[in-house]
Symmetry: C2
Subunit: 657 residues, 2 copies
């Protein structure tokens, strides 16, 4: 997810100036005529999407043209070299009403400081739930302002309709990079003379790829935007779920694109499962069903899990077979403090629709496999592997999913949830097959707060989950018909550079002397997480100790102010910075005992780290694995999954589910 | 390469205490009986190697046993379940003399501070130039101290002897990570609405892998050790070239392992080329022919290029066809200030052996292809792409390869050198084929000094070189018989997290306010390196400007003290820190104008950044490409190259070259 602070900032801008975006009037629209989907968009044949057209007339600022926006703009579409047709003819639809609004934005940081916003007058139209069936290139042209035009080249990819996989499981390690996998391997697996004695399950996957995670209009993405790219094949803007961002005030009217879950279910009747260790309204699970410019519409997101899009005609959707994760506050009664959509009790809403409602690991493990299941195991994000397995005292918080302020002591892990999800999906889907998204959300959440140990614990739990999944599918003889993908949605700038002698660090009196505790190159030595300690678990590949004398010299590259001691945080997830005055964060005086004081590089309103640019890995095994080798764009993952499921449609389908 | 400082430290330890290693008595030898090659070593069938045995008797410290070292130790070898045989019987060799020495080491940082070294008395033997031909597992056992034993399991890999590639070219981006490739793509290639309009050549390679770079005895490697792993299939210790580190004082008597260049040449008469933008005595080129525990024996390294190993019987070696790079000071006459091995003039030594000697780009381009060539183009490391192409004034230094103190203005780039190397190798090797190692050395060197722009320029030059190489091989119809590999030897903890508004940064008065110049997530915006500027080159995919208003918010994760302004360094490679007093580096007051002051995390004796843990990418194209997918150990690259060349030998070869 994006940092809480970044969300806060975005929300503040939204409140003060419609949909302002610093430095860009509107993403993916450098001219005054905007077409969404924009130039370079790719489509699956038959994928539903909306068209949004906007004509902008800045009233002031560097682009002011002294004219009102053109209301008489026209829009044509042409397939290949064919004659352009008006959009109404092309799709056989009625014309849309002209809408109008204004929004404002800041042209740069100086303008923001001076509160000099640029105001833009807008005329717009939208055409909804369209589809292109014929593969090939299309030219979309918006003509406006008496001679100006914006052209967009769209490509409907030519993919075989043959289905090659019965099931797909998409594991997302949120924020997980190659660097983190390397670090997790170092603490979770024993090495003798430079040779690991056991392998990560990911390392055993036959095909490896890299995907580029950037946004459509910024090179750093958040998890909403990147999830949407993975699920829909369309890159978008930060904070967007399943839509392109328009400039209107409403977060619910932006042009939508259909997701893999929606298409798979609509065309094949296949069953869908959603599992995450985050609160379920969070971006990565949300992206499968929600369509909104604002990922912060959490209550709305939860409603879409059950009901899909309700404000427009869209894909028919009647809920996933499985929905497991945290975020109980969006499900329980407002009387208990719930903050749900329209004050509904979603436990009841789901139950009314035939879901069994599960609230702890015990009930999860014994639940029947032939009923749909909603499993909500904690308020907010679920407990971390490190707290569930090593520092269990940290579970003593008022996070019971019932909303009764008791602790949520009996929480399942990602492995429990994922294996149960597969049981239910396999039992219920019959020959229709299933799609499951399983997210290790707190790799990202713990990296954000610089809690490297917890983040790596989550990553090892993800790998353990993948291992158990491969074993289960193997045992049930369904491995060969199931494509397993493991990837991430973006990175954090993380790496390990050596070791830290905790005893020496604590014994020095000055920060400059403390730095001598760090050992690089030959002095990094060997990992002490496996060579000392006696922790054991039913899961095999985790550290034998989390507080060896020599810990990892690791970190993020963009930080708030903090004190680093590179030691495990035994009292629960780390809080590196605290607010000194409004939007001004300084070192948390309670954090990083005996450590080194370090100034951050991020704007001081940040209390945590941020996402990074790096390509993230993709591990593939199963039918179509060959589609996932090499380097490609994040959206290609959607197209390759759709190809593997055979979801392209050259003509409108006769039957939908 | 390792940081200069780390080398300095290692050298100091060597000088003061034989071969001391902080925290480990001797790498890969946790007991008092040492066997090299150690446990878990893998061998190519028929690969030459030395055996070193040591028995240690610490005289003081935590392991002191109050006994002298056992002189009567025995050593046996057993293939599979067969009876162990004394090593002399096993190989049909004479027994070796017992050697004795002492060395000392520090058990931890407290001991180092207190100068309390532990002294170890040693008895040792060495058996040299042996080979195992039969694939399978072997057990090597050292019996010592009347009942103690150290067992090592060795594996001779069972690889087909069939040759599948005529040629192999191994590109090494020194220090290059996936994160850096992502950043280089961002500044070198134009993106429209989230879709790149051109591809990196690496991104077009069909097969992608990750290799683990760690050392045998520390999880962070230097470039000597990692190059040796790639070239020989044996991981070793920091600073080692083609040997395992023993504890003796001499850097030239450590147990050797044969490299891919040596084996390929010995068994097939194939031709070898070595190209680097570093000084050629540097670790990555050196690793192909040198065998020494100390990478700092630069003069010796240059001698091995021409003469191979001369102090012991070893692989017959008579020089590569091509040797192109920097480091003239190890080649020209001591009268001119040269610092060559035994005061020889290596220009003359090479010329005497039939090499044409080239000292600038002009002579390189017009050189005949049928003669062996030594091309030395600068003192020290060669000029960087950014200085050769954009900030050319920085070439005005006294670095002429002739040693005449003039500037080296006419330097070739990596592409020029690599293409010429291929011309010569192709012309001269006939049907024997060739092996070429081409190194973009200054990705690493510039990352060490936090000069991100220069590092990314070097990376783009590497990619441009690969592209030109693919085109050349295609044109000469030799692409299909040539395996092309692109990889790295280790990483640096680098990433990009957003953008920096240079104008805003300079206009603020306090560091805390300057941090507001940084834009993350949606405020990272789009890359300005392609969207502004009008720089053009004959090479296509480089930035159009290097100093846009919005630069990259990028960095390393382990640093000396420095001032960051995230702007290009127009006056030449960056120098982030200066020595305030001995071994105490502080911010360089001349660096980072208008930037933010940041305290480092590294020990203050460091004036630059250090290597990191991350797995590095491997891109493969051509015969055997399928061997390089997925995740594996660095040593597997050697074995897969050897397999592709068909270099395994089940019996001693009748003919050698």
């Amino acid at each position: 997810m994006s940092s809480f602070k970044a969300i806060g900032l975005a929300a503040a801008l939204l409140a003060s100036s419609a949909s302002a975006q610093t430095f860009q009037r509107l993403g993916a629209c450098p001219t005054l005529g905007c077409v969404f989907p924009p130039d370079q968009a790719d489509f699956l044949a038959g994928q539903f999407f909306d068209i949004r057209l906007e004509v902008h007339a800045p009233k002031n600022g560097s682009e002011a043209i002294g004219l009102p926006p053109d209301e008489k703009f026209t829009f044509t579409l042409a397939k290949g070299d064919e004659e352009p047709k008006p959009v109404t003819d092309f799709f056989g639809i009625e014309d849309a009403e002209v809408e109008s609004w204004t929004f404002s934005w800041f042209e740069d940081l100086f303008a923001r400081d001076a509160k000099q916003s640029t105001v833009v007058d807008v005329r717009a139209k939208a055409y909804r739930r369209l589809a292109l069936y014929e593969p090939g290139e299309y030219t979309a042209t918006l003509n406006y302002n008496n001679g100006s035009s914006t052209k967009a080249t769209w490509l409907v990819r030519d993919l075989a309709e043959e289905r090659k996989a019965k099931n797909i499981i998409l594991f997302i390690g949120d924020g997980m990079t190659t660097n983190m996998i390397t670090a997790a391997r170092l603490i979770g697996h024993k090495s003798v003379n430079g040779k690991y004695q056991s392998k990560m399950q990911m390392d055993k996957f036959p095909v490896l790829g890299h995907q580029m995670t950037h946004s459509i209009d910024s090179f750093i993405t958040d998890s909403a935007n990147s999830a949407s790219a993975l699920y829909s094949g369309h890159k978008s803007s930060v904070n967007c779920l399943g839509v392109y961002a328009d400039s209107s005030k409403s977060p619910f009217d932006d042009p939508k694109v259909e997701t893999i879950a929606e298409i798979f279910h609509r065309l094949t009747g296949g069953h869908v499962g959603i599992v995450s260790t985050a609160f379920l309204a969070d971006a990565t699970p949300a992206g499968l069903t929600a369509h909104t410019r604002s990922r912060n519409e959490y209550g709305h997101v939860v409603d879409t899990f059950l009901n899909g899009v309700t404000n427009y005609t869209w894909t028919k959707w009647d809920g996933p077979d499985v929905l497991f994760g945290g975020g109980a506050e969006y499900f329980y009664s407002p009387a208990l403090g719930g903050i749900s959509y329209k004050n509904r009790t979603y436990y009841d809403e789901f139950a009314k629709r035939g879901y069994q409602v599960l609230q702890n690991r015990t009930s999860l493990m014994s639940a029947p496999n032939d009923e749909r299941a909603l499993g909500i195991f904690a308020v907010n994000n679920m407990a971390k592997w490190l707290d569930r397995n090593v520092y269990r005292d940290n579970l003593n918080q008022s996070l019971s999913p019932a909303g009764d302020k008791k602790p949520a002591l009996d929480q399942p892990g990602l492995k429990d949830m994922t294996l149960k999800a597969i049981d239910i999906l396999a039992e219920r889907s019959g020959d229709k097959g299933w799609f499951l998204m399983s997210e290790a959300a707190s790799i990202d959440k713990m990296m954000h707060v610089l809690d490297y140990d917890r983040a790596l614990g989550e990553l090892l739990e993800l790998d353990d989950t993948i291992k158990a999944t491969v074993n289960k599918l193997n045992e049930t003889d369904t491995l060969k018909e199931t494509l397993i993908l493991v990837t991430a949605d973006h990175g954090h700038g993380f790496d390990v550079m050596g070791s830290v002698d905790q005893r020496y660090l604590a014994a020095q009196n000055t920060d400059r002397k403390k730095r001598d505790a760090i050992g690089t190159y030959q002095n990094s030595g060997q990992s002490q997480y496996q060579n000392t300690g006696n922790l054991t678990y039913t899961d095999s590949n985790f550290p034998k100790t989390w507080d060896p004398r020599y810990t990892l010299f690791q970190g993020l590259m963009a930080d708030p102010d903090r004190r680093e001691n590179w030691a495990v945080h035994k009292d629960g997830p780390r809080k590196p910075a605290v607010e000194a005055e409004e939007d001004d964060y300084v070192v948390n005086p309670k954090d990083g005992k005996d450590g080194i004081l370090l100034n951050g590089t991020l704007p001081v309103e940040n209390d945590q780290g941020v996402h990074s640019l790096t390509d993230v890995p993709v591990f593939a095994m199963g039918p179509c694995q060959e589609l996932f080798g090499g380097v490609y764009n994040s959206v290609d993952i959607f197209f390759s999954m759709a190809e593997c499921f055979g979801l392209g449609r050259g003509t409108p389908p006769a039957e939908t589910y």
